[in-house]
């Protein structure tokens, strides 16, 4: 009662609740949101590193055979281009450096650039920065707050990766020192930090989130190509030093640690951070490369929902196609030399099995086709990633209200969804064909002995899991619309994780059966299993029809 009286007698100023350090509120908020995803990825990376430590011992039945196998592998250009330098690959540390950093650095980089562009340009474009900047902050301070939030997420990622790496290292069969384990986690997180920085600068340069992601994605693609070409060709090895991914590779935390390479990494991160904060002092909504506020009234592809969807997604589609074609050309050009190495060593064939569980269970892997099989497995994963991303955009159209504009007119929900799903199906098929044909074109120039037909069919085979994922995505859109993106990305991550884990440790086959990557053939290493492709397509169609039926009958749901 006394407090009520006191409150009643207090001035308005005295009645206000005061929050500690309001200038840091935005950084705290952003950090809390990002730490969760950073920690999740740290967990995934940690599990993957743990898996690698066991994978080393399963490569060959005996240590002598393993040594022979890995010695043969050390000079294989294709595998170098795929995952990085194979130096000291015959040791557990060198093998883990090569295989684990090769994969996790790529995934962490993509996470970094997407997280940064979403938190900076994405939030600004959505209009939420207007509210933020009307509070006790400035644009520079807000940008710095987001960078601090990203830093917190990276710290969470580092702690979990380091914890699991050190735990794996403590096992008698592994024996990686705690210091090495912690430095290894630095290498993984360094890639995420650099591309988060690139994404942050791109957010200041580009006027929309998709363009910012596109620009930073292009930088990432260039970095990957430089690293791959540098590792694959001894005469141009210097290219590795021009690539941020090459700097990460040079850290070699578990073999001959070279912490000096942290300098360019830290320099890039600091430069990006500084550039972001400096560039942030601009008009809200503006960007370094200004978007033209006007455009010629071209009305092509605005006459039907399908054409309109194609128009709106053409840049993204072209980027995916270009990425797949570039990867196909790069790895196709290495097919012959890698294939010869595969053919010359019986134990080397078995090596492919250490890369993935799918490869491990396929029989008769040999020569160029074995290498191509691994590349087409990666193509399968890429096409699935395209589908997950595309289904996320389909759901976004409903959540953000764009769909309302169409279905209150003479566009039925069936027509709209059939058009969107059909478009995704066409693009995923095109990605499979483009991947197969670009690989063939490059391999043919090296006389690698692969025919256009078998690579075309391998490309079609590689698209099958994505077609099934599309069906499941439509099913999710119908029944649990708010979980559509989570279901699609979750299934992709699950399949990837099982494939990686399954190559090192024994996983129950019922569990493995749940992976979309587990059943299809590793074409062109072996002939495509059209029965599996047919089953995938049939299940995908059934799921899509069921999801479509539900979608047309349910309430439209916002975010």
């Amino acid at each position: 009662m006394a407090s009520t009286t006191a409150a009643a007698g207090a001035t308005i100023s005295e009645r206000r609740t005061r929050y500690a350090r309001p200038q840091l509120a935005f950084a705290r908020f952003t950090g809390l949101r990002m730490v969760r995803t950073g920690a999740l990825w740290g967990l995934v990376f940690g599990i993957y590193v743990y898996d690698n430590a066991f994978a080393f011992h399963t490569i060959a039945p005996t240590a002598a055979q393993r040594d022979r196998l890995l010695s043969t592998m050390a000079g294989n250009a294709g595998l170098k281009a795929l995952l990085g330098d194979t130096r000291q690959i015959t040791t557990l540390g060198g093998f883990t450096d090569w295989r684990a950093i090769g994969i996790t650095a790529l995934v962490a980089s993509v996470w970094g650039l997407l997280a940064a562009t979403k938190a900076l340009r994405g939030e600004e474009a959505a209009g939420r920065w207007e509210l933020v900047l009307s509070g006790r902050t400035t644009q520079r301070r807000a940008a710095a707050g987001v960078l601090a939030g990203l830093g917190a997420a990276l710290l969470a990622m580092y702690l979990l990766t380091a914890l699991l790496t050190v735990a794996a290292g403590a096992r008698p069969s592994v024996r990686i020192g705690p210091g090495q384990g912690m430095f290894f986690a630095v290498a993984v997180v360094a890639a995420a930090a650099m591309f988060a920085g690139v994404g942050a600068v791109a957010s200041e340069v580009m006027p929309t989130r998709s363009r910012a992601a596109g620009l930073s994605g292009a930088v990432f693609g260039a970095a990957f190509m430089l690293r791959a070409l540098g590792d694959a060709t001894s005469s141009a090895h210097w290219l590795v030093y021009a690539s941020p991914l090459g700097w990460v590779e040079q850290l070699r935390p578990l073999t001959a640690a070279q912490p000096l390479w942290l300098l360019p990494i830290a320099g890039l991160v600091a430069a990006c951070g500084l550039a972001t904060v400096l560039l942030a002092e601009r008009d809200l909504g503006a960007s370094l490369l200004a978007d033209s506020g006007t455009a010629e009234p071209h009305t092509a592809m605005l006459g039907s929902p399908v054409l309109f969807a194609l128009r709106m997604s053409r840049a993204v589609t072209a980027t995916w196609l270009a990425a797949v074609v570039a990867a196909g050309l790069l790895y196709g050009s290495l097919a012959r030399s890698t294939g010869q190495a595969f053919a010359s060593s019986g134990s080397l064939r078995r090596f492919t099995g250490t890369l993935t569980h799918v490869a491990q269970r396929q029989v008769e892997l040999a020569g160029t086709r074995a290498f191509a099989g691994i590349i087409f497995l990666i193509l399968m994963t890429l096409i699935m990633a395209y589908v997950a991303s595309a289904m996320g955009r389909v759901r976004e159209d409903e959540a953000e209200g764009y769909l309302d504009n169409l279905v209150v007119r003479r566009v039925s929900r069936q027509r709209w969804l059939a058009g969107r799903a059909g478009l995704i199906l066409a693009v995923l098929a095109a990605l499979g064909v483009a991947g197969g044909m670009s690989f063939w074109a490059a391999a043919a120039s090296q006389h690698a002995g692969l025919t256009a037909r078998e690579l075309l069919l391998a490309g079609v085979n590689a698209a099958a899991p994505a077609a099934l994922l599309l069906g499941i995505g439509v099913l999710a859109l119908g029944f649990v619309p708010r979980l559509t993106a989570l279901v699609c990305w979750g299934l992709l991550a699950w399949a990837f994780l099982l494939d990686m884990l399954g190559s090192a440790i024994k996983v129950n086959h019922w569990v493995m059966d749940t992976s979309l990557l587990y059943h299809p053939s590793l074409a062109p290493a072996v002939n495509p299993d059209w029965r599996i492709v047919g089953i995938y397509l049939a299940i995908g169609c059934a799921a899509a029809l069921l999801g479509g039926w539900r979608f047309t009958g349910r309430d439209l749901q916002g975010a």
Binding site: T208, G293, T294, P297, L302, Y402, V408, R409, R410
Partner: protein, 311 residues
């Protein structure tokens, strides 16, 4: 075209239309008829169920119970046929940022299937709209203009507006009113959900008021005024008579110095007798504005609810 028992064309009919979102009542037992060629105002505070009603009419969500028809067609079963005769303006314009105004208008017309292009050009001039800019560079009001122009240019039989003038300046609000009256003169039906009571007062033939998901009142403004209290204002040379409070039908008595304001429902002679005895210097009675009616209806509901809670 559907007709009711009296031979009147019916544009919109709902029967016990109900929508629940889990335990939350979005709309409860709405039975309503809107005649063709009529402009009906659909009023209510935030969360009253206005947008839910409109989304049900458009078939964007399914009713928990009841049904709705537009021009005699069930909105759930004949969505395409219904949409061919309807144009809709949402309260919040979610448009594609990378398209220009002209491209968006073209797209929306193509999706509707019909547009009066000459009239669209006229509307572009009337709303003083620059179609060459990209949507991302438009202000909120300009984005709303795209929706308004796109909807009006279809010349659809039924125009459904959900808070259509949010973000428009007074000049553009005037342009909107002109367009609605034009539509009514053409025989189009207008379903206008609005917070702007003066807009509804100026444009609507009938008013429906919803509260907490239920239809609280419906009728012409004149009918509502007849049912509602009349406001009486008087000033006196001395203190106003205290007996006013005890006159049957009198409520909301407010005294400020020598000035008295009150409301009276039903016969006014008792109040006049009391006021006359105090020799008023000025006496003014007027019918309630829509705003007063709106507040009165809500105040009445609150009192009923309070009474029910105490009971």
């Amino acid at each position: 075209m559907d007709t009711d028992g009296r031979g009147t064309h019916v544009a919109v009919r709902t029967e016990h239309l109900t929508k629940h979102y889990g335990a939350v009542v979005g709309l409860e037992d709405l039975s309503l008829e809107v005649n063709a060629g009529e402009v009906i105002g659909y009023l209510g505070p935030n969360g009253a169920g206005k947008t839910t009603t409109i989304r049900l009419l458009l078939g964007l969500i399914k009713p928990t119970a009841g049904r709705a028809e537009i021009f005699g067609m069930d909105v759930q079963r004949a969505k395409m046929a219904v949409h061919a005769r309807v144009a809709y303006v949402p309260g919040e314009a979610t448009l594609w940022p990378s398209l220009t105004g002209a491209q968006t208008l073209h797209l929306l017309a193509a999706m509707h299937g019909e547009a009066d292009l000459a009239y669209r050009d006229l509307l572009i001039k009337r709303f003083d709209f620059d179609t060459s800019r990209k949507v991302r560079s438009y202000s909120k009001g300009n984005r709303q203009k795209i929706n308004l122009i796109a909807a009006l240019a279809t010349r659809a039989d039924l125009l459904i507006f959900d808070e259509p003038t949010a973000g428009l300046d007074p000049l553009m609000e005037q342009a909107f009113r002109e367009s609605v009256l034009e539509a009514r003169d053409n025989g189009q039906t207008v379903f206008l959900s609005s917070h702007v009571l003066s807009e509804a007062e100026a444009l609507c033939d009938r008013i429906a008021i919803v509260r907490a998901g239920r239809l609280a009142e419906i009728g012409t403004l004149a009918q509502m005024r007849h049912l509602s209290a009349v406001t009486v204002e008087a000033s006196f040379p001395a203190a106003p008579p205290a007996a006013v409070d005890r006159v049957p039908g009198v409520s909301a008595v407010q005294v400020a110095g020598h000035h008295l304001t009150c409301q009276v429902r039903g016969p006014i002679d008792g109040l006049l007798t009391v006021l006359a005895a105090a020799r008023p210097e000025t006496l003014l009675s007027r019918e309630p504005s829509l705003e007063e009616l709106f507040l009165s209806i809500y105040g009445e509901q609150e009192r009923r609810n309070d009474g029910a809670r105490r009971g």
